[in-house]
Amino acid sequence: MSAPALTAATQDYLTAVERELADLPADDRSALLEDLALHLDALSGEDDDRPIAVRLGAPAAYAADLRAAAGLPPRPEGPAPAAVGLRERLARLPVSPAVREVRRLLRELRPAWWVLRGYLVVLVACLLEPDDVRDFPVPAPLGNPALGMLLVLAAVVGSVLLGRRTLPRPLAALVVVGGVVLAATSFVLGEGAWSRLADTTAYPPPLPDVPSERYPLLSRYGPVTDVFPYAADGTALEGMLLYDQDGRPLKVGLQEWWDDGCRRVLDQPLAADGVPVQNSYPQAYELAGQGGSCTEALSRPEVPLPVFPAAESVAPDPGD
C-alpha cells in the first residue's frame, strides 16, 4: 500500500489529528488517519492556496467532527491518561523539521524492511542450522536452495501482510522486539560469515601481474625472489654478481614468508662506498629478532642439475 507523499504542512496536520485521536482503538485510529492522509493528498491536487487548517478547520475540530460522525466517544478531558503510550507522549513533544523528515523517511522505508525481514527469518534459521552448506545469498534449508527460495518467498509475503496490518499494542511491541532481535542476530552471524570469507580470500596475497619496485622480476610462477647459481659441475656458487642483457644489475624481489615461520630481513653485501650490492646471489638473509627454533642457515632448494657429456667441452671449440 503506497502512502501518499504529503508536504510538511499536511504532515503536521495529520500528526496533530493523530494526537487528538490517540485514545481510540488502533484499528479505528489507523483507518481514520489513512482516510485523512488520502484526503489531504486529494486536496493538494486542488487549485486552492488556502492553508489546510482553514479548509478543513483546526485539527482538534476536525478530530471532534470525525469522532462524532463515526459514533466514537469524544476525547477525554484533562491531562493525558496514564495509560497513554510512549508513542503518543513522544508525539506531543515539539519536533524539529529534521526529526520529522527522518520519521517520514523511516515510515517510507517500512515496506523495504518488511521484505528484508522475511528474507532474514529464513536466512538466520539456515545459518543457525549446523551444516556446512552455503546459505548466502540463497539460504539452503536441508541443503536445498530451491526450498530456500520458496520459503523466502512465503516469508516475505507473510512479513508484508503482517506489516500492513494494524496490530493491537502488545502484539505490535512483540513484533518490533522480534525485528530488533532478528536484525541483531543477522548482523552477528553475517559478520562471522564475512570474516570467514575474508580469511579464505586474504591469503595468499594476490600475485602481482606486472613488475614493480617490490617485485622487479616476474616469472610465470610469480615473483622471482632469489637466484641460486651453480657451476657446470654442480658446485653451488655464492656471491655471484648477475647482470641483464643491457648490463644492468639484475634485481629480484625479496622473500617475505618462510616455511619455518621465522622472520628474516635481507642482508646484502656492502660495496666499499657503503652502498648495498643488490645483484649478489644467492641473496643473504639474517634472522630478525626472535631466536628459539629459528636458525640462520637456509638450505638451497633441490635443483635438477643437468649431466654434461664427460669428454666434450661445453663451449664450441674455436679451432674446429
Binding site: 500500500m1 503506497s2 502512502a3 501518499p4 507523499a5 479505528d28 483507518a31 481514520l32 489513512e34 482516510d35 485523512l36 492522509a37 488520502l38 484526503h39 493528498d41 486529494a42 486536496l43 491536487g45 478543513l56 478547520g57 475540530a61 476536525y62 478530530a63 471532534a64 467532527d65 470525525l66 469522532r67 462524532a68 460522525a69 463515526a70 459514533g71 466514537l72
Partner: protein, 110 residues
C-alpha cells in the same frame, strides 16, 4: 435556521444515497454531496460517517491502485446498506411530511 444541525441527522441517508448511485472514495463522496447542494457538509463528518456505516456493515470497501498518486479506498453499498437506506428513506419521508404539515399549518394559522 442552522442547516448544519439538520445535516447531522440526515448525513447517513445522504451518504448512502450518493454511494448507491456509484461507488466512491472519500474525497469523491464529499464533492458529490456538495455538488448535490449540501455545501456545508464537513469533510470530517463525511469520513466519520463512512467509517461508521462501514463498521455497521452497511458499506464494503476496496482499494484501487492509482497510476498518478496514492491508492484510492472506494466504498460501495451492499444489501444491508440498501435496506438501511430504504428504511431511512421511509423515516425521512414521514418526518419531512410531518414537518411540512406542521409548517403548512403554521403558515395557514399565521
Amino acid at each position: 435556521m442552522d442547516a448544519s444541525q439538520l445535516l447531522k441527522g440526515v448525513l447517513d441517508v445522504a451518504v448512502l444515497a450518493v454511494v448507491r448511485d456509484a461507488d466512491g472514495y472519500g474525497y469523491d463522496v464529499v464533492r458529490r454531496l456538495r455538488a448535490a447542494g449540501l455545501e456545508d457538509v464537513g469533510d470530517a463528518s463525511v469520513y466519520g460517517t463512512l467509517r461508521r456505516l462501514y463498521q455497521a456493515g452497511a458499506l464494503t470497501s476496496y482499494v484501487v491502485p492509482s497510476d498518478e498518486g496514492p491508492h484510492r479506498k472506494y466504498y460501495a453499498i451492499n444489501d444491508r446498506g440498501r435496506s438501511v437506506l430504504e428504511d431511512s428513506t421511509k423515516t425521512w419521508r414521514t418526518f419531512a411530511d410531518t414537518v411540512d404539515g406542521l409548517l403548512a399549518g403554521t403558515a395557514a394559522a399565521a
